[in-house]
């Protein structure tokens, strides 16, 4: 029968590579059936349980718990006795060459480094990143389990200094052709990426390479960057870099479903980027359309395809959104599903968008009879059709609403659908055209009509289109084309660009690595200059002592003394 033996080491810091190698070392010992060497967090304790390695030890998240299952008592005891030796073996390898013991020392040794890669455990990571910013370095922050407050403070500080903080929990980046963290080797080329998504960025860059395209820069932001509290700080900095970078011709933005307000800021900025921008808002419903220079993909692979196609296109699409005072879209639909699809396509770009066919509660138009800002109305909704013909038959309601919108100086574009076919009004253009002609007498107002129907419909589609055009409407026969045309006529919100990060930072980089040695090794393997810091947690990882050190440092800084990291 197998026996289970365990050991707890309290309050000590161990690198996770060390723990992995300890576990493997234990497993290789004679008579050992299974082994675990983990920090005793609740999740890790459950994982031990699942492997039949749970013991009765009382141990907390700061304690190292080592468990061995062996064939005999002797084998188990022998394994635990070997722990010190296994830990020492590891340390000896890591110390084989001379390495700086602090970030400051590393910066003196490799002053040309503009990047610091941080992958120390989460509770130490913000401190290291803060030191890096203080030393004027940009940060690639791989570590996860960093608090939101720390993220906000770090990014705020970075923006102020014109530096970039990618992360926390930023798994990947490709800067000047060199991959940081987990990164695929891809051709260099004209596609620049910003991503609040690690494997998302890896999957898209890999697919771009497979499709024959290439990558200029791939900037990670960490998965929370587009949350409300962080406000897309890094994404905006990244977008700004890519729009200024002459080597970037197409931009891709990848994000998990984020705060609508933040997406609206990013898309507004993207409209002013003067380059095509492909969005993959993962898990967010989007229409299939291109809107001005913005393109929306519904999968990572599709985002890559779109970007490669756009980069290959001979001409950069005319991109710049109209400038000027805010003016609003007023879309007056008779077709409910068309109204819905308009909301779907526009919601991330025209913000806030109000409608009586909302996709989310915040879009609800309080009073469907009065537009507020950008508004999409389905005039065929139940509330409008009691004792009244559907607006596909009776245009009265829409004609009145068209006049009402035209009388509002905030209205910039009126969009109407004209649905032809059996059962519908026999000649809608005859009623709509005079009202359109009257509306467009206001020179700053455009009327767009999307005509849905076929060349066999009884209304004579060509004649309907001709009549609407003669009255001054722009006419499309596909909703996506009409929405694209509408967007091009509306000014983008004026989101200020952040303090610019200099483009030199994105040339072939030199980097200082603090944390997982594997990331240092990979930068070196890619032929870039790098230095690995032989990092140890302040106060040996003891939380109480760390608190005292932090206070001492704060006092020193408060009294004007030069800031020095506690590790020195």
């Amino acid at each position: 029968m197998a026996v289970l033996r365990s050991q707890v080491r309290r309050g000590a810091y161990y690198d996770s590579v060390v723990l992995m190698q300890l576990q493997r070392g234990l497993l290789a010992l004679p008579g050992v059936l299974d082994a675990g060497a983990v920090m005793a967090t609740p999740a890790n304790l459950e994982l031990l349980e699942a492997s039949g390695l749970r013991t009765g030890d009382s141990a907390g998240p700061d304690d190292l718990l080592i468990v061995v299952r062996a064939e005999t008592d002797d084998a188990a005891e022998g394994a635990l006795a070997a722990v010190d030796g296994l830990l020492a073996r590891r340390r000896a390898t890591a110390d084989a060459e001379f390495r700086p013991k602090s970030l400051e020392a590393a910066v003196r040794q490799l002053p040309e480094a503009s990047w610091v890669l941080v992958s120390v455990p989460g509770r130490f990571a913000a401190g290291v990143a803060r030191d890096a910013l203080r030393l004027g370095k940009n940060v690639f922050l791989y570590s996860d389990n960093v608090s939101l407050e720390d993220e906000i403070a770090l990014k705020h500080e970075a923006s102020r200094l014109g530096l970039l903080v990618m992360g926390p929990d930023c798994g990947t980046a490709i800067i000047g052709g060199v991959g940081f963290g987990f990164a695929n080797r891809v051709r260099r080329g004209p596609i620049g990426l910003v991503a609040a998504s690690g494997t998302g960025l890896q999957a898209v860059t890999s697919a771009i390479h497979e499709l024959g395209g290439g990558v200029s820069q791939a900037i990670g932001t960490g998965g929370r960057d587009l949350h409300d509290e962080v406000g897309g700080a890094t994404a905006l900095e990244g977008l700004d870099v890519l729009r200024r970078d002459p080597a970037t011709r197409v931009i891709v933005v990848v994000s998990k479903p984020p705060e609508p307000e933040v997406v609206a800021r990013i898309t507004a900025a993207a409209r002013r980027a003067a380059k095509p921008v492909v969005f993959d808002l993962i898990g967010e419903p989007v229409g299939g359309a291109a809107l001005g220079n913005l393109h929306f993909a519904s999968s990572l692979y599709r985002a890559a395809e779109l970007a490669v196609d756009l980069a290959r296109a001979e001409t950069t699409p005319s991109e710049d959104a109209a400038d000027g005072a805010p003016r609003y879209l007023r879309a007056l639909f008779s077709g409910g599903t068309l109204a819905y699809e308009a909301v779907l396509a526009l919601q991330h770009v025209l913000h806030p968008l109000r409608t009586n066919v909302p996709l989310r509660a915040s879009q609800r138009l309080e009073d469907p009879l009065h537009s507020v800002g950008h508004t999409v109305v389905d005039l065929g909704a139940d509330q409008f059709t009691v004792g009244r013909l559907h607006p596909m038959i009776d245009n009265d309601l829409r004609l009145r609403r068209l006049r009402q919108e035209a009388a509002d100086p905030a209205t910039g574009v009126v969009l109407l659908d004209v649905v032809l076919g059996e059962g519908a009004h026999p000649d809608p253009a005859s009623e709509l055209a005079p009202a359109i002609a009257e509306a467009v007498r206001r020179k700053d107002l455009a009327v767009l009509a999307v005509v849905v129907g076929t060349d066999e419909d009884p209304q004579d589609r060509a004649a309907q289109i001709e009549r609407l055009r003669a009255a001054g409407a722009r006419v499309a026969t596909r909703l996506d084309e009409a929405l694209d045309a509408a967007l091009r006529l509306l000014p983008a919100a004026d989101v200020p660009w952040p303090q610019p990060v200099p483009l030199e930072v994105f040339a072939r980089p030199a980097a200082i690595n603090v944390g997982l040695e594997v990331f240092y090794a990979s930068v070196v393997a890619q032929g870039a200059s790098a230095l690995h810091v032989d990092w140890r947690p302040p106060a040996g990882g003891d939380e109480r002592l760390m608190g005292i050190l932090r206070k001492m440092k704060a006092t020193r800084e408060g009294s004007g003394a030069a800031g020095r990291s506690p590790e020195e």
Copy 2:
């Protein structure tokens, strides 16, 4: 100065065409500036207000309110005095030819009619539809403002009888080449549609025609059909018709975002349809992938394109989902975004799906260490990485989980990602292959691996793939392809097909129209046999009298007397 005059006619029923024509008649009178003639619902009163036509009259939803704004008192009084004449003029036109006064009489006159088109006001519509079912007729129910309870009862009754109820609020259908309600004239062809969306169906059928394709049948369901309470009753009947119809080679299903449980029933049925099925779940986030015979589009136009492409393809894709006892997918990801995209793509097809990266709350996996049914796990989530290397570097966690899943007889397919590149494990296949080989010794278990990376990555992608294949894994390099492969290995849930609606019903139809005359005229214009019922509401639309009539009828039916409609 303009004067406003009004008139209220209490409790009387007026056809909405009559009201439109009354309003137009008033507007044409000398000195009249504007006019309204509406049932005094709250929405209509607000609309009058918006046009400056609101008066102080007390009037309710069953009352007709006529308002005139005129240049002078005389003109206003004159207009109101003309109302009776205008109403009478209309009636004379409608009565120009002989018409049956009841549905029963119409059925005797046109016995070959298999359809009844109902477009009377909402509060009368369910009664007419019920009569039609009782007479063995299928129903196209255009009317809106019909209660959910009535919809459920009507569809339940129809399913029992092998009849179809399209609607309520079904704006459009094309049956045997003849459009009902609002319908575009389109080429006949191999694409059959079911839609819980009126203009959605119009837009897709029009686009199919524009793209050179053609339509076999287009079946509307009404917008609420895929809600929980209705359960997709009509959509399932429609899907069943199209799968049996030899003229239909590709099926398109369009719906506004519906209840996940109901979508799961429809997609499960679609997997058994043995034909390609294109879904446009409007407003619902979907992945870009094809899953077996199911295809997901993110816009109406894209749905049309996909359907036309599929109909043109030489070979019908091998479609049939595996049969047999329920077996589950267990997807173990190291890449968080890949896990997310898997949930996105699979959520409408594998139901219920549990995950630690949920898109909606109901998908949350209570205990991420134990799979339940179909499960997608991101093993790189924060909770797993405290004091532990990311699973892209350390495979230990995934190897243990792989063994755990393989030991569960409910597991049918295990899906793993293998992310290559800088920073990642230098040879993941060396560790994964032995565990995979052990897992696939269970003959009813398949292991799929999706390898993300490029041919330039340091791990040698080709060698990695070869090693995984040699161990018995099926390998893809795109997530969508891996998901497609996984789905083909999993049996579809066994949704029973409803009582079949005979295919003869979908040959060139004859129809009886009750309600808006324009729909009768359009069926006739399309060359089909039709009859228009000169319908009047029971008891002249008086709610109290109608209640008494309903009770009398119920008594008669309860005592076994033949059911007769109250209009007779």
